[in-house]
């Protein structure tokens, strides 16, 4: 029987209790992520996890304050949410354009207890292999935390797709072999390139939170059986693939059902839904 899993990619944009405490969160979610869903009590997030057989979720902020002026949840707000529920694993976000970016990250991890870094090159307007971001990578490596990079397609009007190309991560993967790097959204549409990176660099992981047309079942089947055969993920990348939903752009239940329906072995599903995420997060302890 499978252990309750971890969703490695969620945005806590709809949590009503936090929006009540911090009204600016309502506007940020609507304006930057264009999310139009109704705000929900924290209980709904928990029920979403329950329904998908998951125990915990990584919750992500987005700091593009120095590049595009957008901030969707601060690191302090993520830490506040994590104090409200033990089911959340908080990540930090730091805009690499800030001169004191490494210090901000160190503080988020050491003072706020956050356990990973989320970077969004298309929104933060930098190429991942730009020297600008290297001090952040060095800090993340020294802190032992993983970095989750937004990769591939971006819906946000202020973003630019070119910054999300996964091949811009190759130098980073090569220069920081001890740094665990997760490419979000399978880096779609550049799934083949993302898979090539992961095949070559064992410190490169992929998350499953990809949905850009059709529905979760049909989209993931296209990306993970037609763009790249499922056997590649099962045989070669089974320890470098983590479940992510991208909630609330997609309900967790729908994405979990889609991944479960792809045809992976039960052993591989255990890795995707739990063990690989634990491995990534273990480094942060």
């Amino acid at each position: 029987m499978r252990k309750p899993g971890i969703d490695f990619h969620t945005h806590p944009l709809l949590v009503r209790e936090m929006v009540a405490r911090h009204p600016e969160l309502a506007g940020a979610a609507r304006k930057t992520f264009l999310i139009g869903n109704n705000f929900q009590p924290l209980e709904t997030f928990h029920l979403e996890l329950d329904l998908a057989g998951l125990e915990k979720a990584v919750v992500l902020p987005m700091d593009a304050s120095a590049s595009s002026g957008a901030v969707v949840w601060t690191n302090e707000q993520i830490a506040e949410l994590c104090r409200m529920s033990a089911r959340f694993i908080g990540f930090a976000s730091v805009d690499p354009h800030h001169a004191d970016a490494p210090g901000r990250l160190r503080s988020a991890v050491q003072d706020l207890g956050l356990r990973g870094l989320k970077l969004n090159p298309p929104m933060q307007r930098f190429f991942a292999d730009d020297a600008l971001a290297y001090p952040l990578y060095e800090t993340a490596r020294d802190l032992g935390i993983p970095i989750l990079f937004h990769a591939g397609m971006s819906w946000e009007p202020g973003s630019r797709l070119q910054f999300g190309h996964p091949m811009r991560l190759e130098e980073v993967a090569a220069d920081f072999p001890g740094l665990r790097i997760v490419l979000a959204h399978l880096a779609w549409p550049w799934v083949v390139e993302a898979v090539a990176l992961a095949l070559k660099y064992p410190n490169v992981y992929l998350d499953t939170s990809a949905l850009y047309f059709d529905n979760p079942r049909d989209f993931l089947r296209f990306a993970m059986t037609q763009q790249v055969p499922l056997t590649v993920f099962e045989r070669s990348l089974r320890k470098q693939l983590v479940f992510g939903s991208n909630y609330p752009r997609v309900e967790i239940k729908n994405m979990a059902a889609a991944v479960e329906g792809l045809g992976f072995s039960e052993e591989c599903l255990n890795l995707i839904f739990r063990s690989n995420a634990e491995t990534l997060l273990e480094a942060a302890r």
């Binding site: 929900q40 029920l47 752009r249």
Partner: protein, 149 residues
């Protein structure tokens, strides 16, 4: 004449679920001050519904199963797809719950009861249900009571 609108929040806990809201409507009637008139309830959502049926679990299961057969969440493979499966820029996400919207249309989104002597009038086996087609979510039900004091 009294016209009073009440908003009730219902927390669904499952993907598909029937939640008895008869007491909510009865309470709204009792608190309205209306002696003779009508009580009307409507869901504020398009992937949820309201309907009246007998209040027993087996029938709840049959209602949900039948609506799922008529309007499946996943379109049958190889036959047709839902047009709703596309990016909705106003919503920041894809639409892939056409089946749930269709269930809402098939099952209806409101129900109406007479009010007599300050009480809701309904058949002995009738219950009013909020029906969740795309949960879990916190949902809103409007209950409006109108009539004479």
């Amino acid at each position: 004449m009294i016209v009073k609108l009440t908003r009730v929040e219902v927390q669904s806990r499952q993907d598909l679920e029937m939640i008895d809201i008869t007491e909510h409507i009865e309470r709204a009637v009792a608190e309205s001050g209306v002696r003779d008139g009508l009580a009307w309830a409507m869901t504020a959502h398009t992937s949820a519904g309201l309907l009246v049926t007998e209040g027993i679990e087996c029938l709840e299961r049959d209602v949900l199963a039948h609506l799922e057969r008529l309007a499946p969440k996943q379109p049958p493979e190889g036959s047709y797809g839902y047009w709703h499966n596309r990016y909705l820029d106003f919503d920041g996400r894809l639409g892939f719950n056409a089946g749930d919207h269709l269930k809402s249309i098939l099952g209806g989104v409101n129900c109406l009861f007479p009010v007599e002597n300050g009480k809701l009038v309904r058949g002995s086996r009738q219950k009013a249900y909020f029906v969740e087609y795309d949960g879990p979510l916190a949902r809103t039900v409007f209950i409006q009571v109108l009539g004479n004091e």
